[in-house]
Symmetry: C2
Subunit: 405 residues, 2 copies
């Protein structure tokens, strides 16, 4: 048994290196229903104006404003999708419904609440101004206007705009296909009885959830074979139709690690140890054809924290997100954050609103095996290496996982 | 044509009424892979302690601390899942790998970096203390401890904990099945050519995205028939296997609205108009067997804002979320928010970090048809009715849709 010979890489340097080596995936055309959460591969420019015609904003009567104060004959109706045929004559009104085309000749709409109606006639207020209660063509969007920029994610409003402009599908970046594998002779399937020294393979389910939330399409490879050749066959086979390999466990310094030698033989291992707590044994390799491999540590917290720090930003960059990082917000420390000596530490905190700002409280023991430190955690607080720590009350930029409701 | 006879309900009252009338759906057992985003129907209590045995935190040697300083014979190995057989004799050491069981007799683990190794022997430091570098049983979780509470959402850590404790599936609340229908004679399918006065049915795609984000399982009913009997047949059929009906359009005061009379005949319409901008024609009905119907206005912004204010909290309550509302954060107004006279207004804003806090800027014209006011919007700012407005620089509680990255 020997200690790892991989150099200890600074945590921020390692994160930058991973992102730098991460490719953006090719684009594909996707139907609107599947676009939410995806990122545009090219700017979406309005090919036409919205609304395309002058459209009533209310239910009421379309009139010529110079007829205000008069008793006007109702000559017809302009309902949504069923415009009035021909021009509105002077001295007349047309019933108009929300979304209906303003008839030619009319220049304003009086709300139904503001008129007096009698059989076939309507009395409109005196001096009713032109240009009321309808949307002009191009009011909402001008032709040639940038609707959603390349690299921006698509949500309900963006998808609605694309539909309104007549796009049944959009060109977005592909989602990464990730093969997920656990390693470790001690692992048993959830629901099976554990023998002496055995534990359930829980990382598989935690990482599956984290990968999907990040937008990946995941294939579960299960627990890795404990012999080099079957392991190589499984991994090489999976890499044929996956962009990323994610493993957990088996990257420590021990004698039974088969993953690192395999990655060494398949591609280039750039990172084998990181000055990070939790997550020191984090491993990153590039493989042929732009494929990536992430070797996450086996301890549950270490695997999820290294996922957040290294893997998630890479997966988001692959999908074209212009800002692949989690959002950050200033939070006031409600505890004294002790640093981990020579390693950058990502501490898990819960957030509460207090005195008009967010206050971060530790989720308790930050042991790398204690997954409870991540249960209900709202944010990660980065504590730089060194023995100084960060004093209670200090405001720091926290990495937001979710906001307290 | 007549003005609506439904009373104008205060926006906050309407939101409270909807939530009050919304049932929580029944529970179901769901496999771990499908649990993320779901909510526990019952407290998850640890049936056993974690770790279940004393487990090494590092790669190194398990020893008896009283043997520190000695040259110890290596008698075997405790790898993860393959414990050392029998007790560690005095004056001996066992190779131990991360996750390996601490052998009986041993009381501490020396890291591989801290020993000198020679053929079958190991030299350990003098005075090495007991209790180092291993996790004690129950350190991470005690038997009987509350792991995740009822009403709390499940994320990667929570699912990982459930797996570690041996639960292959969890009891969570059912997701709402929603039938989504657009109404309006002016609507054409996206991708088809629009005739005079016609517009694309864009709300279908915007609301589909919003509903799915909220956790709903959506069936698209398309554009509603424009005759009462076919419409009734479609809706009654859909309600057989859906919990919620959501319609957009056709709830204004016009002459062609078929939805409101249908809802009146099927159940009880509680809200037909709201003192809200945008979204005044919002309609809410309860139907037999705890089913709900939401009639959203046809204008794109009105439909999405009323979705946020009324429908999303209801869908979250149905799924068991203890806090069904979006999170709120204090933001400083970077513009003067003018109120909408007698209606509560939900203005769309983008957020930026400035001077250590979030600043809200208007997304431009807040017209109910201008979907661009929601594109890239990070939050909604509630402006109470009245002509006072809210002055620039005022700090208000904003409803957070997403954070700026």
């Amino acid at each position: 048994m020997r200690a790892s010979t991989y150099p200890l890489v600074d945590a921020a340097e390692a994160a930058a290196l991973v992102l730098d080596r991460t490719p953006v995936l090719p684009a594909e055309d996707v139907m609107l229903a599947d676009c939410p959460g995806r990122v545009l591969a090219e700017d979406l420019i309005a090919p036409a104006q919205l609304p395309p015609f002058p459209a009533s904003a209310v239910d009421g009567y379309a009139i010529r404003s110079e007829d205000g104060g008069g008793r006007l004959r109702v000559v017809g109706e302009s309902a949504a999708g069923r415009p009035l045929a021909g021009e509105l004559p002077p001295g007349a009104a047309a019933r108009i419904l929300t979304g209906g085309v303003l008839p030619q000749g009319a220049d304003t709409v009086v709300m139904v609440e503001d008129v007096e109606q009698a059989d076939g006639w309507v009395l409109v207020p005196v001096g009713f101004p032109a240009g009321r209660n309808f949307h002009r063509p191009g009011d909402d969007l001008r032709q040639g206007e940038l609707v959603v920029g390349r690299g921006e994610p698509l949500g309900p409003a963006e998808v609605g705009l694309a539909a309104a402009l007549g796009f049944p599908r959009l060109r977005v970046l592909r989602r990464p296909r990730v093969a997920l594998m656990s390693t470790g002779d001690e692992l048993v399937e959830v629901g099976r009885t554990s023998g002496p020294g055995q534990v359930v393979d829980s990382n598989r389910w935690a990482l599956l959830a984290a990968l999907r939330e990040a937008g990946a399409i995941v294939t579960l490879l299960g627990v890795a074979p404990d012999q080099p050749e079957p392991l190589r066959e499984l991994v090489v086979g999976a890499l044929r139709d996956h962009d990323v390999l994610v493993t957990s466990g088996g990257v420590s310094v021990g004698t039974h690690d088969l993953v690192k030698p395999l990655l060494e033989s398949l591609g280039e291992v750039h990172i084998g140890r990181v000055r990070l707590k939790p997550g020191k044994p984090f491993t990153f390799a590039t493989l042929p054809s732009g494929r990536l491999a992430f070797g996450l540590p086996g301890f549950p917290v270490s695997s999820l924290v290294t996922f957040e720090v290294f893997v998630r930003p890479a997966l988001r960059k692959m999908q074209g997100f212009r800002r692949p990082q989690r959002p950050r917000l200033p939070v006031r420390l409600g505890y004294e954050a002790r640093a981990a000596g020579d390693r950058t530490e990502y501490q898990r905190v819960s957030l509460t609103m207090e005195g008009g700002g967010l206050v971060a409280l530790s989720t308790g023991s930050q042991s790398s095996s204690r997954l409870m430190s991540l249960a209900g955690a709202h944010a990660l607080v980065r504590v730089p290496p060194g023995n100084t720590g960060i004093a209670t009350g200090t405001v720091v930029d926290a990495i937001i996982l979710s906001l307290p409701a």
